[in-house]
């Protein structure tokens, strides 16, 4: 196995390894944040050791908290949720499932992986530069992100590196998207039509199409923001600003413009994270219920519809932004419309199970857990999609709960399902089934314990992105909730070590797997 391999299997595994590395950093950051939220005044030696400037004497500063939050979001969204389901699984299994010898452009494939790796390194480097990592969140709204150091520590070189990292990630994703699309269009086995492909391939196909157009808009958005910071332009900076008592000379730009560009990418990004998982779950449910996927064509078309509608709903992230109230109404109707194909998928999954003979393997557990979480997380979208109701919940923990359940945890359950399902192909061995199921039960319960209570912090009106809740009378009441949630987070994080152990142990010592252990019908299980 060479480092700069052009073999799709190696590259797939490299992507998965990169995600695994990233996810543990992301989890660690979230634990530090959760700890700080409930013990805001406790000095911790470890924090001082890790961030001497951000936590002098071990006392975490607000700017350190905000930078951890920014990095947690960025790492999880880009290097975990975008990377494993699409680039990791897709690279490994797409060619196998459609009978292609490799991806269409193996060298380009290698390049996109290493660009992604470079992007991750650039991002992590932000921790070590003067001022530390940026504190403007993964959405990086200007002017906070556009004016440089003056708006806070971390907004200097740290923010520059962050934008650079995102730009690199855009380039890598565009290369990968081209590779996926060409592979699917040109390299399907003779006689295999589009509607003969497994639904996993549909997931990767639609995701690649979304990437091709969504990242193409984020890239110039990032470049313009970087110009605002480095070349003194004012694309996103209006006139007459006084920051930190210093008069700014820029004028003429529009902060809302950046939000439009960002969410034009940002909303489709949600589907980039979840669509490959949807395809995978369809396959796993079908295999372990001993039935074909119910309504295959409707499922494929629903994916296309989600992908298409995903491009016309970005405004629901901007209901409170000062955007025209008329636009909000249009975006709201479209947003609830995108729920329809999602609901159709749920019904089809249930119908796939209906009348089957369900075998409860570990992968099946995760798949069923995915369906349950998809419902729980998706249903609150019907609240947030209405601008009238969104005004209360926007930027509260209700939103945090919503997107963690649907975009974060559901997508991660799809990754778990995929790893258990495909491990025999990747390593010739099983992931331990008993350990897998135990991990599932603990994780599933832990996820509900962590994220369901956060909705209620949202009901109280608890704003997100607060390093502590000491300033407000009304936030005293949510402290018990946050203490519970933090304990759930510790529990959930600890449980993930079970999985890590299972993964590393089973790779070498797991039970040997026969050729087609699950009795699946797709091509990747054939020995030819």
């Amino acid at each position: 196995m060479t480092v700069f391999s052009t073999c799709h299997k190696v590259i797939g595994k490299q992507y998965i390894a990169l995600s695994l590395f990233s996810v543990f950093i992301g989890i660690f950051l979230s634990l530090v944040m959760r700890y700080h939220l409930v013990h805001p005044d406790t000095k911790v030696k470890l924090f001082q050791l890790l961030w001497p400037d951000g936590a002098p004497g071990g006392q975490m500063t607000p700017e350190l908290y905000l930078s951890l939050m920014t990095m947690h979001g960025t790492i999880m969204v880009f290097f975990v949720l975008t990377t494993t389901p699409q680039s990791g699984f897709g690279n490994y299994f797409l060619p196998l499932q459609i009978g292609a010898p490799d991806m269409a452009f193996p060298v380009l494939n290698m390049l996109s992986f290493w660009t992604t790796a470079l992007s991750l390194l650039t991002l992590l480097a932000a921790f070590f530069v003067e001022g530390g990592a940026p504190l403007s969140g993964w959405t990086a709204y200007p002017p906070l992100s556009g004016l440089g150091k003056i708006t806070g520590p971390g907004q200097g070189l740290g923010q520059d590196l962050w934008i650079l990292s995102i730009a690199l990630f855009c380039v890598a994703s565009l290369m990968a998207a081209i590779n996926f699309i060409v592979t699917i269009i040109e390299l399907r086995a003779p006689g295999m039509g589009y509607f003969d492909m497994p639904l996993t391939c549909w997931g990767w196909f639609v995701t690649a199409l979304i990437s091709l157009f969504a990242f193409a808009v984020l890239l110039p958005g990032g470049v313009l923001l970087l110009l605002d910071r480095l070349a003194g332009t004012s694309f996103f900076i209006p006139g007459g600003l006084i920051v930190n008592d210093q008069v700014q000379t820029r004028s003429g730009g529009s902060p809302l413009l950046f939000q439009h560009l960002f969410w034009f990418f940002g909303h489709p990004e949600v589907y980039i994270a979840i669509l490959p998982g949807m395809g995978l779950i369809s396959t796993v449910l079908s295999v372990f219920s001993g039935k074909r996927v119910f309504g295959y064509k409707a499922m494929a078309i629903a994916m296309l519809a989600i992908g298409g509608l995903g491009f016309v709903v970005w405004g629901h992230h901007m209901f409170i932004s000062g955007m025209s109230p008329y636009s909000s109404i249009a975006f709201s109707v479209l947003t609830l419309a995108v729920g329809v194909p999602s609901a159709v998928k749920t019904f089809n999954w249930l119908a796939t199970l209906w009348g089957g003979r369900l075998r409860f393997t570990a992968a099946m557990h995760y798949a069923l857990g995915f369906v349950s979480l998809f419902i729980t997380g998706g249903i609150t979208g019907l609240v947030l999609g209405q601008p009238g109701l969104d005004v209360y919940f926007h930027d509260t923990y209700f939103v945090v709960a919503h997107f963690h359940l649907i975009m974060g945890v559901a997508a991660v359950f799809a990754i778990f399902a995929g790893l258990h399902y495909w491990f025999p192909i990747m390593y010739g061995r099983f992931l331990n089934e008993q350990l897998g199921k135990l991990h599932f039960f603990l994780t599933f319960a832990g996820v509900y314990a962590l994220f369901v209570p956060l909705h209620f912090a949202g009901f109280v009106g608890n704003p997100r992105r607060y390093p502590d809740f000491k300033e407000y009378e009304f936030l005293k009441s949510v402290m018990p909730l946050h203490i519970g949630v933090t304990h759930a987070a510790y529990f959930l994080a600890a449980v993930q070590l079970l999985f890590l152990f299972n993964y590393l142990w089973s790779k070498r010592r797991g039970a040997l797997a026969p050729a087609n252990p699950w009795g699946a019908a797709t091509r990747e299980w054939r020995n030819d």
């Binding site: 269009i185 040109e186 199409l209 157009f213 808009v217 529009s254 809302l256 413009l257 439009h260 034009f264 491009f311 016309v312 000062g322 955007m323 025209s324 636009s327």
Partner: protein, 86 residues
């Protein structure tokens, strides 16, 4: 091919000519966009060989591109609004 090229140059000169005669901005923008689309189409059709060889599903991809650009244009009223909300 030389004929196509001469046509492209001629359109370019016509565009520059619009500036010469000081056309009203709105009319000028409309004409320029039209002429530019014509030039882009000429280049794509002849130089990029769309006439003889079309990559698979090009119409679908082009449609997606135009749809995305159309959607982005929805941002423009925001610019006008920003001006009136100073």
């Amino acid at each position: 091919m030389i004929a196509v090229w001469l046509l492209l140059v001629a359109i370019t000169l016509a565009e520059a000519g619009l500036a010469w005669v000081h056309t009203a901005p709105a009319l000028m923008l409309a004409l320029l966009l039209l002429l530019s689309l014509a030039k882009a189409a000429l280049i794509a059709w002849y130089f990029m060989h769309l006439k003889s060889a079309r990559p698979k599903h090009l119409p679908a991809f082009l449609f997606t591109l135009f749809a995305c650009v159309g959607l982005l244009l929805a941002i423009l009223p925001e610019g006008i609004r920003a001006w009136s909300m100073r």
